[in-house]
C-alpha cells in the first residue's frame, strides 16, 4: 500500500530524517515509536506532503513525493495530525462534511453524504449527539473522535494517526483505541505514531522504532514487546509519561 | 532571480542617467520651471496645467520663441503638498538654464517655496490667491502673486450679495484647509463691514464627504443666505446635499463653485449659485476666448482656471525676458517689475505691485450649468 524508501527530510536547516525506509501493507496496522524529537511527525508530514522531502514515497503504486498535500489527501492517504486540528468554528457535522472533500473532491454542493455520516455516527455515537455543537467547545476525547471521523468521511485508503492518545484520560484512550482497532479491522490500513509504546505495540501488527531520524528497530509488534532494549528505552518511561498526560487532562 | 533583478535595476539606472544626460548644458533653450501636482489629491490641477503648458510652449516657439531661442517648460510633480512643492522647486532651481519658476495653484505651497525663491534668487510666480501670499510676495524680492487676491474678490462678492441680492444675514460653511479658512474669514469681515450679520461659522475637515451634520446646523440658523468656501469636489458634494435636504437659500461660494469640475459633478444642484472667480471658460476677454477655444479643441474638455493661469504666467514671464533682453535671472526680475499693464487671457497684470498683481475678477452665477458672468470687478 505505502512504500517509503530512503526518505530524507529537513526541518529548517537541520536534517530531521536521514534515509527512512518503511512499508505499510494492505489491512495492516503499523506503529511508529520513538521519543520526542525523533522525527515521527516530520515523517508523517513528509508523507502527507506538508513538508518537503527527498527519496521515494509510493502510495497505491504511484510516486507521490512531488504531489501537493491536497492532491495526496484526495488520493485517499489521510493524516489525522497531532493536536487533532478540528475546525474550531464549524459544527461537528460541518467538520465531517468538509472531510468529504478528500473522497469526493472540491464541489459546490455537498451532495448526499448520509452513508458516510451514518458510518461515522455508528462508530462514534457521541458525535451524533453533538452534531450541532461547535467543535472548539468539545472535550479533547470528543475532538479526537471528530478528527478521526472527519478522516473517515474522506473514504481513506490509508489512515495516518499522529499521537491519538495525547492529552486524553486513560479511560478515554482505551475507548478510542477500541474504535481504532475496529476501523483497521474494517479494512483500512493504519500507520500510527504513538508515544504510549505499550499500547501501540499491543494493537499493531508491526512496528518501527525511530531514533534521531533513523529507524533502529523493526519487526512484529509482539516480538518488539519482548525485546529487552525496547522494554528499557520505551516501556519503562511510559509509566511517568502517562501520569503527565492524565494531569493535563484534569486541567481542562 | 536576485541577479536578474539587479541586472534590470542597473539597466534602468543607466538608461535614466543617459536620458537626463542629453538635456543638460545646452543653452539654446530658455527653460521655465513649473511645479504642479501631477499625482495625489490635486492631480487634476496638474493635468490642466501640463496641457496648457504644452499649448503655450508650441504657440510661443512657433512664433519664433524668445530672444531667438526656443522655450521649454520643465514640469516637476509637487505631489499636492507643500513639502512636495518645495522639493520640486529645488530640483528646478538647481538647473542653471531655468530662468523663472511658476508655483502651484495653492497659496500654502507658494508660501512654502517663498524662502527657497529668496535663496535661489529666481523669479518665481505664485498661482495662489490668499492674502497671506499677497503679504509674502510684497515682502519678497523674487516672488510675485500673479493673480487678483482673494481679499478684493471675496469683498466684491459679499458686496453684491448684500446690496444687489439683498441678503442681510449669513451662515458661513468652510473647509478647515488654510486657503478656504482664509476665504471664510475674508467673507466674514466683508459682511461685518457692510453691516450684515454672520449667524454662524461652521467648518469641516478636508475630505469630509457627508455634510448632513454641518447642513442641519446651518438650516437651523435660517439665515438669508449661505456662504461656502470649499475645494471643488467638496463644493459639488455640499451643494448637492444642500439642495437634496431641501435648503433653497441663495448660496454664495468661493471660486471652486464656478469651476467646470464642480459644475460637472454637481449637475443641476449647482444652478443659481453665485461665486467669484478670476476665470470662466466662456470669458469675454479676447485673448482668453482664443486660448479657451484652442484648449477645448485640443483636449476635448473645458479650459479650467488652472490651465488659463499657466498660460498667463508663461506669457508674462516671456514678456519680462524679452524686455530684459537677456536670461540673466536678476535682469529678468527687474524687467518684471516694469510690467505694469500687461494684457493676459484672464485679466490685466500690474507686476510692480508684487502681490495682488491681477487687476480683475468676475462675479458669476451658474445658469443651466454654465458659469455666467453677472458682474466684472476691476480692482486696483
Amino acid at each position: 500500500m505505502l512504500k517509503i524508501e530512503n526518505l530524507v527530510s529537513h526541518y529548517g536547516s537541520i536534517e530531521a530524517l536521514h534515509g527512512i525506509s518503511l512499508q505499510v501493507g494492505k489491512g495492516e496496522m503499523v506503529a511508529l515509536i520513538g521519543a520526542n524529537g525523533a522525527g515521527k511527525t516530520t515523517l508523517l508530514n513528509s508523507i502527507s506532503g506538508t513538508v518537503t522531502a527527498r527519496g521515494s514515497i509510493e502510495f497505491a503504486g504511484k510516486e507521490i513525493l512531488r504531489e501537493k498535500a491536497a492532491s495526496i489527501a484526495r488520493m485517499g492517504l489521510l493524516q489525522v495530525p497531532e493536536g487533532r486540528h478540528v475546525f474550531p468554528g464549524l459544527t461537528v457535522e460541518e467538520n465531517l462534511l468538509v472531510g468529504t472533500v478528500a473522497g469526493k473532491g472540491l464541489r459546490l454542493r455537498p451532495g448526499d453524504n448520509s452513508k458516510e455520516l451514518e458510518m461515522v455516527y455508528e462508530t462514534f455515537p457521541r458525535l451524533k449527539e453533538r452534531r450541532q455543537q461547535l467543535a472548539w467547545s468539545m472535550s479533547g476525547g470528543e475532538q479526537q473522535m471528530l478528527a478521526i471521523g472527519r478522516a473517515l468521511m474522506g473514504q481513506p485508503k490509508l489512515l495516518m494517526l499522529d499521537e491519538p492518545s495525547m492529552g486524553l484520560a486513560p479511560i478515554v484512550v482505551e475507548e478510542l483505541f477500541e474504535k481504532i482497532v475496529e476501523i483497521n479491522q474494517s479494512g483500512v490500513p493504519i500507520l500510527m505514531v504513538e508515544q504510549n509504546a505499550r499500547l501501540a505495540l499491543k494493537v499493531s501488527n508491526r512496528a518501527y522504532i525511530l531514533e534521531r531520524g533513523r529507524i533502529t528497530a523493526e519487526g512484529a509488534s509482539a516480538d518488539l514487546l519482548q525485546d529487552p532494549k525496547v522494554l528499557e528505552a520505551y516501556l519503562g518511561k511510559m509509566v511517568s509519561g502517562k501520569k503527565d498526560s492524565s494531569k493535563r487532562e484534569e486541567k481542562r | 532571480m536576485k541577479k536578474r533583478i539587479l541586472v534590470c535595476l542597473t539597466a534602468a539606472m543607466l538608461l535614466a542617467a543617459s536620458l537626463t544626460g542629453c538635456g543638460g548644458g545646452s543653452s539654446d533653450v530658455i527653460k521655465i520651471g513649473l511645479t504642479v501636482p501631477l499625482s495625489g489629491d490635486r492631480a487634476s490641477e496638474g493635468s490642466y496645467a501640463s496641457n496648457a503648458a504644452a499649448i503655450v510652449e508650441q504657440e510661443i516657439n512657433d512664433a519664433g520663441g524668445v530672444l531667438g531661442k526656443q522655450i521649454k517648460i520643465e514640469i516637476q510633480d509637487s505631489l499636492g503638498t507643500d513639502v512636495g512643492a518645495t522639493n520640486a522647486y529645488l530640483k528646478l532651481a538647481a538647473d542653471d538654464d531655468v530662468v523663472a519658476i511658476i508655483g502651484p495653484d495653492n497659496s500654502n505651497d507658494n508660501i512654502a517655496i517663498a524662502g527657497s525663491a529668496e535663496s535661489a534668487q529666481i523669479l518665481t510666480t505664485g498661482q495662489g490667491s490668499s492674502p497671506t501670499l499677497q503679504t509674502t510676495c510684497e515682502e519678497s524680492e523674487w516672488m510675485f502673486q500673479l493673480r487678483a487676491c482673494d481679499s478684493t474678490l471675496c469683498a466684491a462678492l459679499m458686496d453684491y450679495a448684500y446690496n444687489e441680492v439683498g441678503a442681510k444675514s449669513f451662515t458661513i460653511i468652510h473647509d478647515t484647509e488654510t486657503a478656504s479658512t482664509d476665504q471664510a474669514n475674508l467673507f466674514k469681515n466683508a459682511i461685518e463691514e457692510l453691516g450684515g450679520t454672520v449667524d454662524d461659522v461652521i467648518s469641516y475637515t478636508s475630505g469630509t464627504k457627508d455634510f448632513t451634520a454641518q447642513l442641519t446646523q446651518a438650516a437651523e440658523n435660517d439665515s438669508d443666505a449661505l456662504v461656502m468656501a470649499c475645494l471643488y469636489t467638496e463644493a459639488a458634494i455640499i451643494i448637492q446635499q444642500t439642495r437634496d435636504m431641501g435648503i433653497d437659500k441663495p448660496v454664495f461660494g468661493s471660486n471652486a463653485f464656478g469651476d467646470p469640475i464642480a459644475i460637472d459633478l454637481a449637475g443641476d444642484a449647482i444652478n443659481d449659485v453665485y461665486s467669484v472667480t478670476a476665470w470662466v471658460p466662456n470669458t469675454p476677454n479676447p485673448l482668453g476666448a482664443a486660448f479657451s477655444q484652442k484648449y477645448t479643441e485640443t483636449y476635448d474638455e473645458d479650459c479650467a482656471k488652472a490651465a488659463a493661469q499657466v498660460r498667463d504666467h508663461v506669457y508674462v514671464i516671456c514678456e519680462a525676458i524679452k524686455n530684459a533682453g537677456t536670461t540673466d535671472r536678476a535682469a529678468v526680475r527687474d524687467a518684471m517689475l516694469e510690467l505694469t499693464d500687461y494684457e493676459g487671457a484672464i485679466t490685466t497684470y500690474d507686476c510692480s505691485r508684487r502681490g495682488n498683481c491681477g487687476l480683475g475678477g468676475l462675479i458669476v452665477q451658474v445658469q443651466n450649468q454654465v458659469p455666467t458672468i453677472i458682474k466684472e470687478i476691476t480692482t486696483g
Binding site: 506532503g49 468554528g89 478528500a102 473522497g103 472548539w136 467547545s137 481542562r252 | 487634476s44 469640475i261
Partner: protein, 288 residues
C-alpha cells in the same frame, strides 16, 4: 433633524461596516489586515463608472458587473501581493499590500484621470419622512448593504462552500490534509471580499464622487469599525461601522463639526483603553 442624521449615519455607517466586513473576511482567512481594502472601494467605483457612464449600462447591472470585476482584481491581488509572501512575516505582507494600494491608486489615475467623476444613482430624488428630506440613494444603500450582508451570512454559514472557506480560514494546514486546495479557497475569499467592497464604491460614488484617493478615508474608518467591533468578528465589523457612522453624524451636529474625524478617533481610543477586545469576541475561542 434627528431623523436626517440617523438615516445618513446609518447609510454611511453600514457602508463602513461592509468594507470592514471585507477586511475581516481576509483577516480571518490569512491573518493579515489588508490596507489596500479602501482602494478596492475606489477601484470598484471606477468600474461601476465605466459600465454605467462609458458603456451606458443600467446602474444596477453596472454595480453587479463592477463587483465581479473587482472580485477578479481581488484574486489577482491575492496571487501577487499575498501568495508569494505567505510564508514571510506579516510585516512583509502588509508592506506589499501598501504597495498594491499605491499601484491601484495611481493605476486608477492613469486609466480614468484625476478629475472627480460621478455616476447614476440607484434611485433619483428624495422622500420626506418626519420633516426630514432623505435621498433615495441613502435608502438604496441601506437596503443593498443589508441584502449583501444577508447573502454573505447565508453563504458562509449555510452552504458547503462557506464551510470550506471557513475551514481554510480557521486552519490552512488541516484544510490541505482533507484535500482542499488552499489557494482556491483563499482566492475565493479574496474574490468575495473585493467584490463586496467594490460594490460599495459604486453605491457611494453618486453622492461622494469618485476620486483615486477616496479609498484612504473610507479604509481608515472601516479599520476603526473593526477595532470597535472586535478584531475578526463579522457582526462586530458591521456594528462597529454603524457606530462610526452615527458618531460622525451626531458628534458632528451636536459636539463639533470641525472635529468629526477626531471624534471617531476619540471613540476608537476609548475602546482601545477600556475594551481592547472590542464589542464582540470572536466566536472561536482559544483552540482547545
Amino acid at each position: 433633524m434627528i431623523v436626517q442624521l440617523l438615516v445618513s449615519g446609518i447609510a454611511v455607517g453600514i457602508v463602513y461596516g461592509l468594507i470592514a466586513m471585507g477586511m475581516v473576511l481576509i483577516f480571518r482567512a490569512v491573518g493579515i489586515m489588508n490596507f489596500a481594502q479602501g482602494d478596492f472601494l475606489m477601484f470598484g467605483g471606477y468600474f461601476a463608472y465605466t459600465f454605467n457612464q462609458m458603456l451606458g449600462l443600467n446602474i444596477v447591472l453596472s454595480l453587479i458587473l463592477a463587483s465581479l470585476c473587482m472580485g477578479v482584481i481581488g484574486v489577482i491581488f491575492m496571487r501577487t501581493s499575498y501568495w508569494a509572501l505567505r510564508g514571510a512575516q506579516a510585516k512583509a505582507i502588509i508592506v506589499s499590500a501598501m504597495g498594491a494600494s499605491i499601484v491601484l491608486k495611481e493605476g486608477a489615475r492613469l486609466i480614468w484621470g484625476s478629475i472627480p467623476l460621478s455616476l447614476d444613482k440607484v434611485k433619483e430624488g428624495s422622500v420626506t419622512v418626519a420633516g426630514a428630506t432623505i435621498q433615495w440613494q441613502y435608502v438604496a444603500i441601506i437596503g443593498i448593504a443589508l441584502l449583501l450582508m444577508l447573502l454573505v451570512y447565508l453563504l458562509l454559514e449555510k452552504t458547503f462552500v462557506g464551510n470550506i472557506l471557513q475551514a481554510t480560514a480557521q486552519d490552512q494546514y488541516m484544510s490541505s490534509l482533507v484535500g482542499i486546495p488552499v489557494i482556491v479557497s483563499i482566492g475565493l475569499t479574496f474574490f468575495l471580499s473585493a467584490a463586496l467592497t467594490g460594490i460599495c464604491g459604486g453605491l457611494l460614488a453618486p453622492i461622494f464622487f469618485l476620486s483615486n484617493t477616496m479609498g484612504a478615508t473610507a479604509g481608515s474608518k472601516a479599520f476603526a469599525a473593526i477595532v470597535i467591533g472586535g478584531f475578526g468578528s463579522v457582526p462586530g465589523a458591521i456594528i462597529g461601522g454603524l457606530i462610526v457612522g452615527l458618531v460622525e453624524q451626531f458628534g458632528g451636529a451636536y459636539i463639533s463639526s470641525t472635529y468629526q474625524l477626531v471624534l471617531i478617533y476619540v471613540v476608537l481610543i476609548a475602546f482601545l483603553m477600556f475594551r481592547p477586545r472590542g464589542l464582540f469576541k470572536e466566536k472561536i475561542q482559544e483552540k482547545a
